[in-house]
Every structure is written in structure tokens, then in C-alpha cells.
Amino acid sequence: MGAVDGYQLLLERARRGDAAAFERLVAEYQPAVFTFCRHVLNDPDEAADATQEAFVAAWLNIGSIRGDLRAWLFKVALNRCRDRLRRLAAARRAGPGESPEPPNPDGDPEEAFLAAERQELVRRALRELEPDQRLAVVLADLFGYAYTEIAAITGWPLGTVRSRVHRGRLGLRAALLKRRE
């Protein structure tokens, strides 16, 4: 609760033009926004660019941000990610190119349950999901958003959020079971 109050205080100071306060908010939320973008885009460089753009947008529009800053950042970042996905899709259509971070089929199931390996396994399983299902699962499970908040960030109807979260989890379960076999 104290941390939340602290962030609210920093946000208030940032709204009054305090750059140092906003830089502290950037330091706080940067990993979350980058991780979110990376899951959406499957590409660290593109994710870093989208993260940068999201924070610049936040800084330039700090006065109009209402409510939860992280959710606002995710919404803006998602729009930037979608723009990038469209550009990347167009580039792929224009010529053959490598898909960034292709799923690695050579996972070792015995080591998959060691912490680092397990995380990598989950990341790979996430990357195999349909993009919308991955987005739903990441928002619900990695960042703990309620369905109404996910609907606000993504613009999806509530029923769509519900079905995409469920299908995403089913897909993850299937992918993890496949790697385990």
C-alpha cells in the first residue's frame, strides 16, 4: 500500500513537470513494460523500441494519464507493438525473412523443471501460442490483471477476454505436455 502511495506521489510530481520523479517511475515500470512488449512481439530489439516509445508517450502526455500508470503504459505499449507487428508482417510478405526467436524444438525435458530451464520452457510455450491468446495469458497471469482491466487495455469484449485467457492456458498446457513427452 505504501509503495502504491509512493508511485501515486511520484506520478503527481511527474505531472507537475518533475523529471526526476518520472525517471523513478520509468526505472520502476521499465522491466514490466519491456517484458510485456517482448511477449507480444517475440523480439527483444523491437520490444525495447516499443518500450521506449511507450515511455516517451507517457512523458509527453503525463498530464492526461488517469488511473493506473502501468495499465496505461501497457495500453500504449500494446498499440506500439501492434503497429510494429503490422510492419513486420508487411516486411515478411515483401521478402523472406527469419522469424525472430523461432521456437526451439530441442528442449531437454529432464532439465525443464530446473528453474531457469523451466522458465525458458514456459517462454517458448508462450511463443507458440496465438498472439491474442498469449497477450491474454500474459496480462492475466504474469501481470495479474482482472478481465475488465484486460478488456480496457486490449479493447476486447469481456467474453473475448475470458475465452482467450482460457484457450491460451489450454494451449500452454498442451505445449508443455508435448515438450515433456
Partner: protein, 290 residues
């Protein structure tokens, strides 16, 4: 994890994640719980979904390969530039006022140039002036106005820059306003404008003392309270000392002397003198009449 689910009711299966997330209505929740009680496959699936949820939740956040770099906000940049411009303007005013030589005394008024004849002789006529005067050298009350305004501008600009740059808005605003007020008060001859008297040119001490005594006598003030505002060496174009009395004629002889302004109380007196000890109290280009 269990094997593939073999659910009897796909509609209920679709509700399991929402059930896990507490996103079902009370009625839906009751329906799902009733089904789970009699369906081991759905219970296993629910446990798997919980594990999947936990696995994703356990993923660590990652740091971007390069840190976010924020641009300066345009308004902020403009404000900083304006503040710096104020500082530079203030410093320029101070420097120009203190370093540049003072302008030469203003030429005689046309009326004075047109009035040839004898010296006025006894020019001891009294007059008071309702308004303070600014002498040609840019001094008021013995203080250089541009320097004071410049100092105020510099302080205000510095405070504004600090406020904008480091987000100390209220402090910056306060200091900035104080700086501006100080500069303006000084420029207007208020409390900030009080300072020491200007230096008296060598050889003018006696005439300045005589002028001071004359002003004291006329104003009823103690001579020690009559303050020298300015004293300038002037070459008058004739013996009227730049202050011809109408109807009189003056000799067309360059007459060296001084323009001396003293202040008694709140009134300034402008005297025109030669170097021999003669002086005239001059009001609006004419000797003042008693």
C-alpha cells in the same frame, strides 16, 4: 500434469479458467462447482490450469537491452530557454551599464540656444519639482537603473531555470518573483535603489557644497539630509548656463560648468553651474521663479 482432458461438457470446460480467476458470477460458480464434484477429468484440468497460471506468474521480468531515454518536453525546453535568456539579458544589462562609458550630457534645449545675452547674475530662485528626474547618464538616485533591473532579471532567470530543470516549481517561482521585485524596486528608485552618492569631479566640490546648501535652505531640510543625485561636467553654449530667462540676452561664450541634481526630501533640484561658483536652479529649461 494429467493426460488430455476428456470433458463431458465443453461449455463448462470453457468456464474453468474464469472460475480459477474468480471471474464467474455466483450462479456460474455454483454450476461449475457442482460439475467439478462429479467430474475427475475436470478437476485434473483445473489443477493443470492452476499450474500453468503459476508457471507464467513465476516468469521473471526482464530488463531491456537499452535503457529508456526520455526526450525533453517541448514546453520545458522552451521554459528553460526563456529562463536562460532572462539570465543572459540581465547579465548583459549589468555589464553594459557598468562597463560602458556614460553618455555625454544632452545638448542645450532650443530655447536656451536661442537666448543670447548677459549672465543671469543672481540666479537664486526657488522652485521645487514635483517629479523625480532621470539624468542623461541613466542614473536615478545615484544608482544605475539598468544594472538593478539586470540583477533582478538575472536572479529571476536563474531561479526559473533551476525550477524548470530540477522540478522545484514553488521555490523557483518564489525566488524568481523576489528577484524580479528586487530589480523593479531598484529600477524604480525604491528601497532597493538606495545607495551611496556618486563621486564628485575634482574641482567641483565647492560648487556642489554650495548647491547642497542652497537646496537645504530652500527646502528647509538639514544640509546633511540633502543627497547628491548626480553631477556632470557640461560645456554650456552661453552664459545662461543652459537655463535662459525669457527676454534676457546672454553672451555667446562656451561656459564650462556642471549639471548638479540634489534631492531634499522627496524633491529633486537641478542646478546648472559654471566653474566660478555661479549657479542657477533650473526648472524645465528656465530659471525657476520664486
Amino acid at each position: 500434469m494429467s493426460g488430455k482432458p476428456d470433458l463431458h461438457d465443453p461449455d463448462l470446460e470453457a468456464l474453468l479458467s474464469a472460475y480459477l480467476d474468480g471471474e464467474l458470477s455466483a450462479k456460474e460458480r455454483q454450476t461449475v462447482e457442482a460439475h467439478l464434484a462429479g467430474c475427475s477429468r475436470c478437476r485434473e484440468l483445473l489443477a493443470d490450469l492452476q499450474r500453468v497460471k503459476d508457471l507464467v506468474a513465476a516468469l521473471p521480468l526482464e530488463s531491456p537491452p537499452r535503457p529508456v531515454i526520455l526526450p525533453r518536453r517541448p514546453v520545458r525546453r522552451l521554459a528553460e530557454l526563456a529562463a536562460l535568456a532572462a539570465v543572459l539579458a540581465g547579465l548583459f544589462l549589468i555589464g553594459a551599464d557598468l562597463l560602458l562609458p556614460r553618455p555625454a550630457p544632452q545638448p542645450m534645449t532650443p530655447a536656451a540656444q536661442l537666448a543670447p545675452a548677459q549672465p543671469s547674475g543672481s540666479a537664486e530662485r526657488t522652485a521645487t519639482r514635483a517629479e523625480p528626474s532621470v539624468s542623461p547618464g541613466g542614473r536615478l538616485s545615484g544608482v544605475r537603473v539598468p544594472a538593478l533591473v539586470g540583477a533582478g532579471l538575472a536572479v529571476a532567470g536563474t531561479a526559473a531555470f533551476v525550477a524548470v530543470r530540477f522540478g522545484r516549481g514553488r521555490v523557483g517561482l518564489l525566488v524568481g518573483l523576489m528577484g524580479l521585485a528586487g530589480g523593479l524596486l531598484g529600477g524604480c528608485g525604491g528601497p532597493g535603489g538606495q545607495s551611496a552618492e556618486p563621486p564628485v569631479p575634482p574641482g567641483a566640490e565647492r560648487i556642489v557644497a554650495a548647491v547642497r546648501a542652497d537646496a537645504a535652505r530652500r527646502s528647509g531640510q538639514d544640509p546633511g539630509r540633502v543627497r547628491l543625485v548626480s553631477v556632470e561636467a557640461v560645456d554650456w553654449p552661453d552664459t545662461s548656463l543652459g537655463c535662459p530667462e525669457q527676454g534676457k540676452f546672454y553672451a555667446q561664450v562656451i561656459t564650462p560648468g556642471y549639471r548638479v541634481v540634489v534631492r531634499a526630501g522627496s524633491t529633486d533640484y537641478e542646478y546648472h553651474t559654471d566653474r566660478a561658483g555661479n549657479f542657477v536652479l533650473c526648472v524645465r529649461g528656465q530659471p525657476s521663479a520664486r
